[in-house]
């Protein structure tokens, strides 16, 4: 476990997590959530949990981002109320 690498990835996890819930645009939030999942996947791989990292990469960063984008596709840019 490399200390510097761990620190950089953890910082990126926290920043992309905060950015995903504060950003106004829903599409950006979906993409940031995918980035968050990918950073988490790297963390699992660093900790040696390769099976969990694989699941996180396929489900978290891959398919769920597609689902979010597909759902955002059916929203409008401005809320009606």
């Amino acid at each position: 476990m490399i200390w510097e690498l761990d620190f950089i990835i953890l910082t990126l996890v926290i920043f992309s997590g905060i950015a995903a819930i504060t950003v106004q645009d829903l599409l950006s939030a979906a993409i940031l959530f995918g980035a968050y999942s990918f950073m988490m996947c790297l963390l699992w791989a660093i900790m040696g949990a390769v099976d969990v990292a694989f699941t996180e990469a396929t489900v978290g960063a891959g398919v769920s981002t597609v689902f979010f984008v597909a759902a955002v596709f059916h929203t409008t840019r401005n809320s009606k109320d």
Partner: protein, 276 residues
């Protein structure tokens, strides 16, 4: 109101942080979970199940009951998307767009207009994605077979390397989703229909539960694959390894079909006509 919310969040956050101080060190061999069950799995799994990948042995054999209900949860998620989103009555859209393939001219046909006959020279296109996308189509066509073979490898090779039914199933479903994104939703539904995804999703769960029930019929406990030794013609240890493979195939079928099913309902808002 925001300040009260912030205070509650800070209070709970510091409570959680306080709780973390009592956790054992990361990878501590003297921590409670490393003392009771883990040594048994680490020392005995290879002799009891003949599966080199410990995670697969724990996931599909020792904790097989958990994994069965995880698969059921995924199937239930697909069913919930279907129940909430699917629009069953057929609505005629406001206008339809057709592209004349030899010339590239786009036809716009209003409601009630006469549709072009189904010939090779017209293709229907989505109203919000009009341009030709030759590079995307060719790339997805090129990648899809490799993606599907890799997915089957991940499912079949879960005994020896990271992977298994969940990951392989998701990759297999992602190949179909990529086809639906790069071409269009209607063409993908023609290949793998909605009924096929629903039937495959439920049959995957049925394969898992059926394997467990078969073990019960043969006189062992639910999901004790050692009982399948007589049917498979191998010794009980190898039978546990083969039982894990059967179960992983069931999980892979269920997960891939449900991913495609959720995508169909989500991307077209339940109309299965025009999608992402």
């Amino acid at each position: 109101m925001r300040i009260i919310g912030l205070l509650i969040v800070i209070a709970f956050g510091s409570l959680l942080r306080y709780g973390v101080f009592f956790f054992p060190e990361w990878g501590d061999p003297a921590s409670p979970p490393s003392l009771h069950v883990s040594p048994h799995y680490i020392e005995e799994a290879i002799t009891e199940t003949a599966v080199p990948n410990l995670v697969t042995a724990v996931l599909a054999d020792y904790r097989g009951y958990d994994t069965m209900f995880e698969t059921t949860v995924i199937f239930a998620a697909g069913l919930a998307c279907f129940m909430l989103l699917r629009v069953l009555q057929r609505q005629v859209p406001e206008c339809r767009l057709y592209r004349h393939i030899p010339t590239g001219i786009t036809l716009r046909i209003e409601k009630g207009g006469k549709l072009p006959t189904e010939s090779g020279s017209f293709e229907r296109i989505d109203s919000n994605w009009v341009p030709h996308d030759l590079i995307i189509k060719s790339t997805s066509r090129f990648i899809t077979p490799f993606l599907q073979i890799f997915a089957l490898y991940v499912i079949a090779h879960g005994h020896h390397s990271p992977g298994g039914g969940f990951q392989g199933g998701v990759i297999l479903g992602a190949a179909v989703i990529m086809y639906a994104i790069s071409y269009d939703l209607r063409r993908s539904i023609q290949r793998i229909g909605e009924q096929a995804t629903a039937v495959l999703g439920s049959s995957g769960v049925l394969i898992y539960a059926g394997t467990g029930a078969l073990c019960m019929v043969l006189g062992a406990a639910f999901l004790d694959y050692g009982a399948l030794a007589g049917l498979l013609g191998v010794d009980p240890v190898m039978a546990r390894s083969h039982g894990i493979l059967i179960v992983e195939i069931g999980v892979g079928i269920a997960v891939s079909a449900v991913m495609v099913w959720i995508y169909y309902n989500l991307s077209s808002a339940g109309r299965h006509d025009e999608g992402l």
